[in-house]
Symmetry: C2
Subunit: 351 residues, 2 copies
DNA sequence: TTGTATGCGTTATCAA
DNA sequence: TTGATAACGCATACAA
């Protein structure tokens, strides 16, 4: 049952009216002052007499003048632009952080130049270059592993940079995030503490997820779990992927013995896929196979069983990143170059 | 169980190296040519002799020169910037569309200036003004209802505009979307065709959702359903909201009789909340109460029962919007000012 | 193929 | 309080 357009509307024949070019010069003439005075009226009204100010404001209203921020940025060397590079904007973990980040900055008059970079370093380098050409006042990058060229460009440009969603001792400039290996180990420790003897890690293909997986597997074995811990990868994270990876595990015999077994996932979405597949097969969770997620999305607490997962405070992360950049832009050295926002293991029913 | 930062890293003491100012002039001197030649080498290498080109490229590599797009835009009156205004980037329906939209445009060399506008018209007007100051080559707006001032600014600026995610006969410029009342009526028709006699509509607070709800209620009654159809609102859409609205309906006696009853939701998220609440109360779906969603998110096909919903092709929408703008930027009149991408009712288990 | 001159619309500096 | 003038870094038109 699909609705389609009823009647195509004929294209407008007349061309759009040519854009009038209104500048501060135009406004100034109308108000009987020079261009500079208009500039001042806009940037610091207190420097202009009340009467002139009124005339200028009237002229602006009458003409619909909108200042040209390109020219302003060129002259002042401040673009009031912040560029943000994230792997994916459809992934709530990034878009959630971004929403807070940009709200925080917009409140200070900045605008956001956004690009998706995927998970490829060379793509990222090209995007960084494109963004730098806009002379942003600061830049947000996701992750701490970049192409050499990216590092060089950024250092050369001298632009404040915050790397988020991971942590390192050697940031390009600033860093706000958490340790992925630590998160993986925390999941392993939790699993062992709950008595799970066998484990598997299902993961998306990105590098941070893989590091969590590797740390999980290593720690789980060290902590006395039965190894080896299979790591099954798929990219990117999707419900279907979670189902498929889980199906493959079960088909391979995972969880078939009376062992207590747990599937750890690199994201809540994959974990939800696992829950769905297990439910479809009539496998009890956590009785027969337990499941752990990562991210603590809204649905985690609503699924049945509710999902044990790792919470990362996306709001705090976005806010801290914004604040760090603002401090740096203000010329001050932030009190900390590297901020670890940590994470929390949220215990629910699934594991 | 929360991990916190182990050791705060001491702030870097030395100031960052001052940014060297490298321009085409600098590069030109190093390569033994003038500034214009560098400009040409970058914009159209075929206009420069191979040897000069090589020297220029070496100079660029040596200096790490990155062209200043602000200056370029000012001089050429083309910013290669497209601004996009969406109510929320954390909502998959908008971020999904945006991902396609920006991928399409990035491939043509454009960058995306993004802002969240919420659902307030005055906020939107302020954001539009801020964006216009960057002199974008085109703009994407969500919805077709805007403040008068927004319309005036946009018309005055003469910038190509595409309004998406809704449809109108009187677009500012271009329009790509679908009819929300039609979608609401399609849901009502489906519900009646399946024999549901009572209905309720649970909805987020935004205007488009409310219009779907109103159209649903009206049509459901017209088509012989038992009225009145309660419309329960909450903003914004969330699982918890869906549960709460559903709980309120059930508590008010909805679905208590042996009538065939259906809850229609303004989004899949609300619908999922409804499913969760109904499951928690042991109410059979669709046996006792049916549920319909809107949006066809990935989870819709994975829920249990799978969710009957309305699919809007976000990719197609984003792509069509990008194409329409590109055509307009190219100076040609698009063959259609208004493009209805339609929608499709996806029949699954929940209704 | 390359260069000179000019302008894009601001902000910053200095004078008045 | 206001104005004249010079950048800002590039693209465009025109010359050579």
């Amino acid at each position: 049952m699909t609705r389609r357009p009823p009647l195509p509307i004929p294209p407008r024949t007349e061309a759009r009216p040519p854009a009038r070019r209104i500048t501060m010069e135009t406004v100034g003439r109308m108000a009987g002052v020079s261009q500079v005075t208009v500039s001042r009226a806009l940037s610091d009204p207190s420097k202009v007499s009340p009467e002139t100010l009124t005339r200028i404001q009237e002229a602006i209203a009458a003409t619909g003048f909108v200042p040209n921020a390109l020219a302003g940025a060129l002259a002042s060397k401040k673009s009031m632009l912040i560029s943000a590079l994230v792997p994916s904007i459809t992934n709530i973990v990034y878009s959630g952080m971004l929403a807070t980040f940009s709200a925080e900055l917009r409140a200070r008059g900045y605008q956001i130049l956004l690009s998706e970079t995927g998970f490829d370093r060379e793509d990222e380098a090209a995007t960084v270059e494109a963004h730098l050409s806009r002379r942003p006042d600061a830049m947000l990058l996701t992750g701490v592993h970049h192409a050499d060229r990216t590092r060089r460009m950024l250092l050369g440009a001298g632009v404040p940079v915050v790397e988020v969603w991971d942590i390192t001792d050697t940031p390009i400039d600033l860093c706000v995030g958490f340790s992925h290996p630590e998160a993986g180990r925390a999941m392993a420790d939790y699993a062992r503490a709950r008595g799970y003897r066998r484990a598997a890690f299902i993961t998306a293909g990105d590098e941070r997820a893989l590091r969590r997986g590797a740390a999980f597997a290593e720690r789980f074995a060290q902590a006395g779990g039965e190894g080896p811990v299979p790591i099954r990868g798929d990219a990117p994270a999707s419900l279907a992927g979670g189902r498929a990876l889980t199906a493959a595990l079960i088909d391979a015999g995972f969880g078939s013995e009376a062992d207590k077994a747990v599937i750890a996932a690199s994201s809540d979405v994959l974990a939800q896929g696992a829950l769905i597949e297990l439910a479809a097969r009539g496998i009890a969770v956590p009785g027969r196979v337990a499941v752990m997620g990562f991210g603590d999305q809204e649905m985690a607490a609503a699924l049945s069983p509710t999902l044990t997962t790792v919470r990362v405070n996306r709001d705090a992360l976005g806010r801290a990143a914004a604040q760090a950049l603002l401090t740096r832009i203000g010329g001050a050295a932030p009190d900390r170059q590297v901020i670890d926002v940590g994470f929390a293991l949220v215990e629910r029913e699934s594991a």
